[in-house]
């Protein structure tokens, strides 16, 4: 009686361990299926149109069989780069504020605000950009307002939480002795932060920047609402543009046939960018572990 009960327990233990294992392997399966499906749906069409006409083409006119996404690649990279240029300095300075400068009571206001910023839905950012940022830009430059610049402003706000959180964590991970050493040598607190602590936290901060790039390049709804979505190559940041994500989201609902497959192909290119970022991130993490 007792023995069979123990036996039963061992069997249930075994069954559950395998349920747990299979559940966690499902993440790997999901990743492979997602990548496989998108590539399967998009890659053949890419070659049908021709890689050069696809990646280097300046015109996207599905009705005429023209599927050049160079303007969208430029749009995506331009908007992301701009957002990084604006967002990263503000993010790093805010992280310095939280980790080193702020009195406790102020940090207790700023930190939850940053967390909340991360939780605001992207469509709300887009809505805000549409009704607040666009009119401001229009009143200054008279260009209608919907532009690469509007997207850059909205994206730079959206990547702030990522950059702040990761930079703060890496600043806090800098050994105390670094800071004390610099202070003992007569450096001021600010000098210590910028000349010792930030360089020491470099790889962590870079990871934050890479994650920020990923967030910006993958953002869709907020960008659609502010960037103007013109299919022409943007000539300046005051010009309208279109990102790869916007291209997919705008046309997917009515596209069919080759047009639809070319939207999947756009997704493939987007995934290539994301995978490169993931790879850089992996390298950065490894660099930190080996040190």
């Amino acid at each position: 009686m007792r023995k069979s009960k123990m036996e039963k327990g061992r069997i249930t233990g075994f069954i559950f361990e395998n349920i747990f294992r299979l559940s966690s392997i499902l993440s790997i399966v999901a990743l492979l299926v997602i990548l496989g499906y998108i590539v399967y749906a998009g890659a053949p069409a890419m070659f049908e149109v021709g890689l050069r006409d696809f990646l280097g083409g300046l015109e996207w006119r599905p009705t005429k069989g023209l599927f050049g996404i160079l303007p969208m690649i430029v749009g995506s990279i331009g908007a992301t780069l701009g957002a990084i240029l604006v967002g990263v300095p503000i993010g790093i300075l805010t992280a310095v504020f939280l980790a080193e400068v702020a009195p406790e009571w102020l940090a207790r206001i700023v930190r939850p605000a940053v967390e909340l910023l991360a939780g605001i839905p992207s469509v709300i950012y887009g809505f805000f950009g549409l009704l607040v940022i666009i009119p401001i830009i229009h009143s200054i430059f008279g260009n209608g307002g919907d532009s690469m610049l509007a997207a850059i402003i909205i994206l730079s706000i959206m990547i702030l939480p990522t950059i702040i959180t990761i930079t703060e964590t890496s600043l806090r991970a800098v050994p105390r002795s670094y800071k004390e050493g610099a202070l003992a040598l007569g450096a001021s607190h600010i000098q210590t932060i910028f000349q010792v602590m930030i360089p020491a936290a470099r790889s962590g901060i870079l990871s934050g920047v890479v994650l920020g790039i990923g967030r910006a390049i993958g953002e869709t709804m907020a960008v659609i609402l502010v960037i103007g979505n013109s299919i022409k190559m943007p000539s300046s940041i005051l010009d309208r543009g279109r990102t790869m994500t916007a291209n997919i989201a705008l046309e997917m609902s009515y596209a069919a046939g080759l047009h639809q497959r070319m939207l999947f192909a756009t997704g493939v290119i987007l995934l290539v960018f994301i995978m490169i970022l993931n790879f850089i991130l992996l390298k950065l993490t490894q660099e930190r572990k080996t040190r």
């Binding site: 327990g9 249930t12 233990g13 361990e17 349920i19 747990f20 294992r21 559940s23 966690s24 392997i25 499902l26 993440s27 790997i28 999901a30 990743l31 997602i34 998108i38 749906a41 300075l93 805010t94 504020f97 400068v101 102020l106 206001i109 700023v110 939850p112 605000a113 940053v114 909340l116 910023l117 939780g119 605001i120 839905p121 992207s122 469509v123 709300i124 950012y125 805000f128 009704l131 702030l160 001021s188 600010i190 000098q191 910028f194 994650l211 990923g214 390049i217 993958g218 869709t220 709804m221 659609i224 609402l225 997919i248 989201a249 609902s253 999947f264 987007l270 970022l277 993931n278 992996l282």
Partner: protein, 276 residues
């Protein structure tokens, strides 16, 4: 420039940046809520939407709730099981590294790619059609990494003594998990669920491709539907009715605020529990 002048300049910039972050948040929330609140009413929340831009958002509320419920039903058990495996069973090695790489990659994939995948795989290949179920299946993959990571943290913070005590009393590993570890990690698991709810409510790109934009009341999980954030997107994009857009935006923002507040309370509870 002298050293102290430079220091003061940097300090001013640091304060300015932090101020900017708080100010932009307050501006964003105030802008939406102040314009939305006057149009918010019980009837707005409980009436059907009419395509002539009158009525309310009841179908959208219901679609959103269906989507949240279904995706949690799929992702929560899977996420908790994975977290249990990673913390309590797995030995460090190739498989664990692979699982971690996969979950990290999953959280880095843009939501529009999830939308595309959901449409290809769940809607077309698995023949679910444009439906809340297809959307829930898609979104559950998106929230899985968050649930796994947060639950893992919670399980790790359960003191070793709890487990050892239970095992010493003769309980099996599984029994210890079910009766001791998981209950102690419960606040963390609830945090994971709340974070996922916030994510599903805010998501647009990954949802509207597999779920569609149908504005009528969904009959069941196989119906198409329109979630609140998709509704806001359509109202804003088509410039249909900014009054309704503000009111819908206010519902979204207030919900996110409540979720954020609850998470904060739970986190406090968790850190108190950890100190025991």
């Amino acid at each position: 420039m002298s050293r102290s002048a430079k220091d003061n300049l940097m300090k001013a910039l640091i304060y300015l940046s932090a101020f900017f972050c708080v100010a932009i948040l307050v501006w964003l929330i105030a802008y939406v809520v102040i314009r939305g609140l006057p149009h918010l009413s019980w009837s707005f929340l409980t009436n059907d939407y009419h395509p002539d831009h009158t009525g309310g958002i009841f179908p959208m509320v219901v679609s959103t709730l269906y989507l949240i419920g279904a995706s949690l039903l799929i992702a929560t058990p899977l996420g908790i099981f994975s977290a249990i495996y990673l913390t309590e069973y797995a030995k460090q090695g190739r498989l664990v590294n692979l699982i971690r790489f996969a979950t990290e990659s999953l959280s880095g994939i843009p939501s529009i790619i999830y939308g595309l995948f959901g449409m290809l795989f769940f809607v077309t290949t698995l023949k679910m059609g444009f439906s809340i179920l297809a959307g829930a299946a898609t979104v559950s993959i998106m929230i899985l990494p968050t649930i796994i990571r947060t639950t893992e943290e919670a399980i790790k913070s359960v003191p070793r003594g709890f487990r050892e005590g239970s095992l010493a009393l003769g309980a099996s590993k599984l029994r210890t998990l079910a009766r001791v570890v998981i209950p102690s990690a419960l606040p963390g698991i609830i945090t994971a669920i709340l974070l996922s709810v916030g994510r599903v409510i805010g998501e647009t790109a990954a949802i509207y491709l597999p779920v569609g934009t149908h504005y009528k009341m969904p009959e069941n999980l196989m119906s198409s539907g329109r979630t609140l954030s998709v509704h806001l997107y359509i109202l804003a994009k088509e410039g249909i009715s900014f009054e309704m857009a503000f009111a819908t935006g206010t519902v979204l923002v207030l919900t996110i605020l409540v979720i954020n507040f609850l998470t904060r309370i739970l986190e406090k509870k968790l850190s108190v529990g950890g100190r025991r």
